[in-house]
């Protein structure tokens, strides 16, 4: 069974790109357009990897990240925080150290992103 990547981003272009990327790499994908929707989808299943944007309406990436890191079931899910905000890792507190997390600044080459994802997935 292929591993599942949850894509959480309010930008359509990013969702299209990431879906194409991970699907081509053989992963299953599910998308959410904001943190709130992502939380609802997590109730139905835990993905193997989450790619997460920061600036989103109705629950920003930061508050979503805090929520999943406080959750016993979700805190060990690897997360790639993908954002165009410079030094966005500084917006995250100690919760960033409680689970496997990678901070990637946009723009990023597709192969680099894929490589980081495989690393977090232990491949």
């Amino acid at each position: 069974m292929s591993k599942k990547v949850m894509i959480v981003d309010d930008e359509e272009d990013m969702r299209i790109f990431l879906e194409t990327l991970f699907k081509k790499a053989g992963y299953e994908t599910e998308v959410a357009i904001n943190g709130e929707e992502a939380m609802r989808q997590l109730e139905h299943g835990v993905p193997n990897l989450i790619t997460l944007d920061i600036l989103m309406p109705k629950k920003s990436g930061i508050s979503f990240f805090q929520a999943i890191r406080e959750d016993e079931q979700l805190k060990s899910v690897p997360v790639i925080v993908l954002s165009g905000v410079t030094r966005h890792s500084e917006f995250f507190g100690s919760e960033a150290r409680t689970g496997p997390t990678e901070f990637v600044e946009k723009p990023v080459a597709p192969d680099v992103l894929l490589s980081k994802a495989k690393e977090l997935l232990g491949e």
């Binding site: 272009d13 990013m14 790109f17 990431l18 309406p57 165009g84 905000v85 600044e105 723009p107 990023v108």
Partner: protein, 668 residues
């Protein structure tokens, strides 16, 4: 006592050997005659003869006395005894042969003793003895002596010696008359001491003293005067001070001579060394023993240094005043009640001249002191405080000021007032805002550009994947991604160009309502998609005005974009109201167009001033380039207008562009 010529003074008579012989002979003959008469005639005839002889002798004695030789008359003796000075008569051996009562009282009955022994306890005659001189020349002599009384008191006497002569003019004795001048001497000494003291004072007092007569001639000067001007007694004062040959006009000395009052004045004189001195001079009258004004004392103190300091102080004060008035900032001085006690002209011109009014009334239009008032802080701790304030000018407009309050201390170091110096930083704030805009705009733009690049990168990947997989659908999606992001790049570049250069405005007379309608139409579908009610409210009779159509369109577009973005990014979970954006246009009574775009989004936190723009820039507007408000500001400025906003948390935000109406008649 026996005189050298054989005369004896006894009982007021001068007896010589011859006279004694004569008296003895007379007495013997008288006795023989009386005996014979008594033998031959009897007692009666003897008695009668004795009486006759006694009468005859008495008359002779009287004649002797009247010849000056007899001193034993009661009247003369009483006078001699009672005269209030020491009287003594000495013989040629300087022995005292007679004294009066006062002499006896103070020196004792020292008859037969040498006068020098009695007066001075000396064993030999005094040098220059006046008694001896009188004996020699038969003249009166006088001297002053110090003698010792019998009880050891020292007495000062003035002595007169007078010869006492017989009928032949021979000096038989010398009468010494001495008057006790001890008290006079003491008074003289006291007077002398006082005179010395006065002289010292006169000489040493640290000012110039001179006394002048009615002709303005110097009678006397003190040491200080002598040192500076020379001891020019007899010269005219106006000559010494001014080199003048005539009395100075308005001379204070002349006035004192006229009215006997003290007069004073300041004057500048030239010293002999050529230097000038400024003096304060007092002229005071001097009266003689008859009470008549005989001279004037002039007392002059050199105040050159004091005057120089005063002049310097005045100069400094004038300079300070010039600085106070001329410095290009607003200065006010407040007391502890925060009432204005002084202000410079710039302050008065700007805020009005209202001494005694609390500062918060004058430039804050408040009825109570401002919170965190820097003036009050300075009163409390005596330190300088700096604060940014927005003040209200007398014309109602507001100005951003940088305010510094500094203490004004008295001589005890207590802060009695505070000086408030305010500098207009409106321009600086404007530049700061502009730079902040620029900084944030650059940051947001960088963020957007990164997203665009990611979009392009992603688009290319998707296109390539489509090509590789032969998947047209994927190819199409990728191509659209590229198209969209290229469009975004184009929009950013256009906005950058718009902001960066002076665009040539193209004004035309148009109905601004049509532009707003156009924007409303443009955003309608998007608003629906985002669940936002987009409402247009136009004033019915909105008049035409001079606008750059594209610029106006851009301004309204940017405001609407921001408003929709605010609604879309509203993360309030307890919100129940439908999101709404209202576009309004009207004209006020001052012929200003008011274009408003309001939303009921989350609003902007009230404590954040300028960082409202941070919030806007930090939210991700999907359609905007990040330059929205910058562009809007520029457009408004190009139309001689302004943009302001009002916002309440959890209520919403309104942006308002106010643009003065211009018609075809008064084009820019």
């Amino acid at each position: 006592m026996r005189s050298t010529s054989g005369k004896i003074f006894m009982r007021g008579y001068v007896w010589t050997i011859a006279s004694l012989y004569r008296v003895a002979m007379v007495a013997v003959l008288t006795a023989i005659v009386l005996t014979a008469v008594a033998y031959y005639t009897g007692v009666i005839y003897t008695g009668l003869l004795a009486a006759l002889l006694l009468f005859g002798y008495g008359a002779a004695a009287y004649q002797v006395r009247n010849s000056g030789m007899a001193l034993d008359f009661p009247g003369v003796d009483r006078f001699f005894q009672r005269v209030p000075c020491y009287l003594s008569i000495q013989d040629r051996d300087l022995r005292i042969i007679r004294v009066n009562r006062l002499f006896r009282q103070d020196f004792g009955q020292r008859i037969g003793e040498h006068c020098y022994k009695v007066y001075k306890g000396a064993d030999e005659a005094c040098p220059d003895c006046p008694v001896l001189k009188t004996f020699e020349d038969g003249q009166t002599h006088t001297t002053q002596e110090s003698v010792i009384t019998k009880d050891g008191r020292k007495v000062e006497i003035i002595v007169y010696t007078t010869p006492v002569k017989d009928e032949e003019g021979v000096v038989m004795g010398v009468m010494e008359m001495s008057t006790n001048i001890t008290e006079v001497k003491q008074l003289q000494q006291e007077i002398e001491a006082k005179r010395q003291e006065y002289q010292n004072l006169f000489d040493r007092v640290p000012c110039y003293l001179s006394t002048l007569d009615r002709e303005f001639r110097i009678l006397r000067v003190n040491e200080q005067f002598r040192k500076e001007f020379g001891g020019k007694v007899g010269e005219f004062c106006h000559k010494i001070y001014y080199g003048r040959d005539t009395v100075c006009p308005d001379c204070h000395v002349a006035k004192t001579f006229e009215d006997g009052e003290i007069h004073s004045r300041e004057k500048t004189v030239t010293k002999p060394d050529g230097s000038e001195a400024r003096l304060i001079v007092y002229a005071s009258p001097i009266h003689d023993e008859k009470g008549e004004l005989s001279a004037v004392m002039e007392m002059a103190t050199d105040i050159t240094e004091i005057k120089a300091l005063q002049d310097k102080l005045q100069e400094t004060q004038a300079r300070f005043q010039q600085l106070f008035e001329g410095v290009p900032c607003y200065i006010s001085i407040q007391n502890r009640d925060l009432k204005i006690i002084d202000a410079n002209q710039r302050f008065k011109d700007h805020f009005g001249d209202r001494p005694g009014t609390p500062c918060y009334e004058v430039y804050k239009k408040r009825s109570t002191a401002c919170p965190e008032c820097p003036v009050m802080m300075t009163f409390e701790d005596g330190l300088i405080h700096t604060h940014e304030e927005k003040v209200i000018n007398s014309d109602g407009s507001s100005t951003d000021m940088l305010v510094q309050s500094s203490p004004i201390n008295d001589e005890n170091g207590d802060c009695t007032a505070v000086m408030e110096v305010s500098t207009d930083i409106g321009e600086v704030k404007h530049l700061q805002r502009e730079l902040t805009y620029m900084g944030l705009t650059v940051a947001v733009m960088a963020h957007r550009i990164k997203n665009i690049l990611m979009g392009l990168e992603g688009g290319i990947f998707v296109v390539n994947t489509g090509f590789e997989d032969g998947d047209h659908d994927t190819l199409g999606k990728g191509w659209k991604m590229i198209e969209r992001n290229v469009g975004r790049v184009s929009a950013i570049v256009k906005d950058l160009l718009y902001c960066s250069k002076e665009r040539q405005m193209s004004f035309e007379l148009l109905d601004p309502g049509t532009v707003l309608c156009n924007v409303h139409e443009l955003f309608h579908d998007r608003a629906v998609r985002d669940g936002v009610d987009l409402i247009l409210e136009l004033q019915n009779d909105l008049p035409d005005g001079q606008f750059d159509r594209d610029a106006l369109h851009s301004l309204i577009t940017n405001l609407v974009t921001n408003a929709i973005d605010a609604c879309v990014n509203d993360s309030r979970e307890n919100r129940t109201e439908q999101h709404r954006v209202i576009i309004k246009a009207n004209i006020d009574h001052r012929e200003n167009y008011r274009f408003e775009v309001s939303d009921n989004g989350p609003g902007i936190p009230g404590h954040v001033g300028e960082s409202v723009f941070d919030d806007f820039f930090s939210t991700k507007g999907r359609e905007g380039t990040g330059l929205g408000l910058l562009v809007a500001n520029k457009v408004a400025a190009e139309h001689a207008g302004t943009i302001t906003f009002e916002s309440l948390e959890n209520i919403g935000t309104t942006f308002r562009a106010v643009i003065p109406r211009k018609t075809a008649v008064d084009t820019k």
